[in-house]
């Protein structure tokens, strides 16, 4: 396959960036998107140029490190797929591809396609935990959890924190991420004691970090590689209002 790549290059957070165009002559349709970028970097290194910086780790769709906006779509065109699991057969021979980093003031560009997502960590630190004794794992079924709740909590826990929801949202809102993290614990019995404080703290950190607000466009749900539903946002709104009422 022949491809024309326009890749965002930016030296550092404070410097201005721009697109750089590269023509790739022999891309295999069986490569993953990241392998295609590896190939590009190999060529750049061979020519004595600076390789393109991009985040990646597991390359099997579970760590949430990777993530670039490809032709306007976070993680590319395939549903429920991270950029590392996306294959070049999703594109056509001769296609032009624009690769950009996540765009949000809460995710400053570190370099090229790499962004700083520690704002997500700070949201988690503000309430995405359960304060209980640590130690060995409790016996299975020691605490009964209704199947429906367990399923819903599990679906929310599938969030890998990649940030595609923020990247896809026209408002750069982090509501889907925060809602998934709030709900994953709020749905389980172990999460009840801190349920109200959790949602209040996490939402307030989310606002302080400079994310936008939700207007129910649904773009996040469409982009989420784990197909997390915006129903969790609705659930978090309700939790937040109830917690505000009780703690008001």
């Amino acid at each position: 396959m022949k491809l024309t790549l326009h890749v965002w290059r930016q030296k550092s957070t404070s410097q201005k960036g721009a697109f750089e165009t590269h023509v790739m002559d022999s891309v295999s349709p069986d490569m993953s998107f990241l392998e295609m970028l590896d190939e590009l970097n190999q060529a750049l290194i061979t020519n004595g140029k600076e390789p393109v910086a991009f985040d990646h780790d597991c390359r099997e769709g579970i760590c949430g490190s990777c993530g670039v906006v490809i032709n306007g779509r976070p993680h590319g065109p395939q549903r429920a797929t991270t950029a590392c699991q996306l294959h070049m057969r999703s594109y056509q021979d001769g296609q032009e591809i624009w690769v950009e980093p996540w765009r949000a003031s809460a995710f400053p560009v570190v370099k090229d396609l790499m962004v700083d997502r520690t704002s997500f960590d700070r949201i988690i630190q503000s309430g995405g935990f359960i304060s209980v004794r640590t130690g060995s794992a409790p016996d299975a079924n020691e605490i009964p959890v209704p199947k429906v709740d367990a399923d819903k909590a599990f679906d929310a826990a599938a969030c890998i924190g990649c940030g595609a929801c923020v990247a896809a949202c026209p408002n750069a809102s982090a509501m889907l991420f925060t809602a998934a993290k709030v709900s994953h614990m709020g749905l389980l019995p172990q999460g009840q004691p801190e349920r109200e404080q959790r949602v209040l703290s996490m939402v307030s950190t989310m606002d302080e970090e400079g994310f936008g607000s939700c207007t129910n466009h649904k773009e996040c749900q469409e982009a989420c590689p784990k197909e997390i539903s915006i129903d969790y946002i609705s659930r978090m709104n309700r939790d937040y209002v109830c917690a505000s009422k009780n703690k008001g």
Binding site: H6, F19, V69, N71, G72, R73, W98, E100, R103, A104, S105, A106, P170, N171, A172, S173, L200, V203, S204, M206, D207, G210, F211, G212, S213, C214, T215, N216, H217, K218, E219, Q221, E222, A223, S229, I230, D231, I233, S234, R235, M236, N237, R238, D239, Y240, V241, A243, S244, K247, G248
Partner: protein
């Protein structure tokens, strides 16, 4: 700051206030549309209805008191709604200072993306509409008959056109707004989602068509 103070400052709190005030305005818009359909029953019934609105609450309330209370309530709702809309829009703009070169919209709708612009059209329209049919400042031939003012106004095509544009903007705003409000309030769930969408479509179409029928009928000579 305690939570009662933080709530209206938070993004979810502001959205909550927008949803509540939006639904209040929707209630008004629906009632007003149904009332206006009395235009099809002729001048006498229509003016009687206008008089009835002035006299609701008699003898406890004086003439026009109910109308003024309703107006103050609506003004407060519109004020809160617009304040939150502007504040959240600024927050959203700040959240993405650098945009994308390429965007692919996959799930959002034209209506959802134009909420602010639809809202601005509505705000301008509300001012014009009050100056036109309530105070008469923007009316070319304002008299004492509410019915007469309406018919004379709509006989002028630029006036009717302004009303038609505003009603279409209202329908779009409500199509997204009604469904979105239930999500914002946390009152949506997977079982209800389809029904709420259907109700949103019904309300948007019914309200827009109901309002549009009046200027269109005047232009067509059905209402004289």
């Amino acid at each position: 700051m305690n939570q009662a103070q933080s709530f209206p400052r938070s993004s979810i709190g502001k959205k909550f206030l927008m949803a509540i005030t939006g639904l209040m305005l929707l209630g008004f818009v629906l009632g007003h549309m149904i009332g206006n359909l009395k235009a099809f029953q002729g001048a006498e019934k229509f003016d009687a209805y206008a008089l009835f609105l002035k006299e609701v609450g008699k003898p406890v309330l004086g003439k026009g008191d109910f109308l003024w209370m309703a107006r103050l309530g609506l003004l407060a709702a519109v004020g809160i709604h617009i304040f939150c809309a502007v504040s959240l829009t600024l927050q959203n703009r700040k959240a993405r200072p650098v945009g994308y070169k390429k965007t692919a919209r996959e799930a959002s709708t034209y209506a959802s993306r134009t909420m602010l612009w639809g809202g601005i059209i509505l705000a301008l329209y509300v001012i014009y509409h009050i100056l036109h049919l309530t105070t008469g400042h923007a009316h070319h031939d304002f008299g004492s008959s509410v019915y007469g003012n309406m018919v004379a106004g709509f006989k002028q095509w630029p006036v009717s056109l302004a009303y038609v544009i505003a009603q279409i903007a209202l329908g779009m705003h409500l199509f997204h707004g009604f469904w979105s409000a239930f999500r914002t309030l946390g009152a949506n769930n997977p079982n209800r989602d389809k029904k709420l969408r259907a109700i949103a479509v019904f309300l948007a179409v019914a309200i827009t068509a109901g309002y549009l029928s009046i200027p269109v009928s005047v232009m067509a000579g059905i209402i004289q």
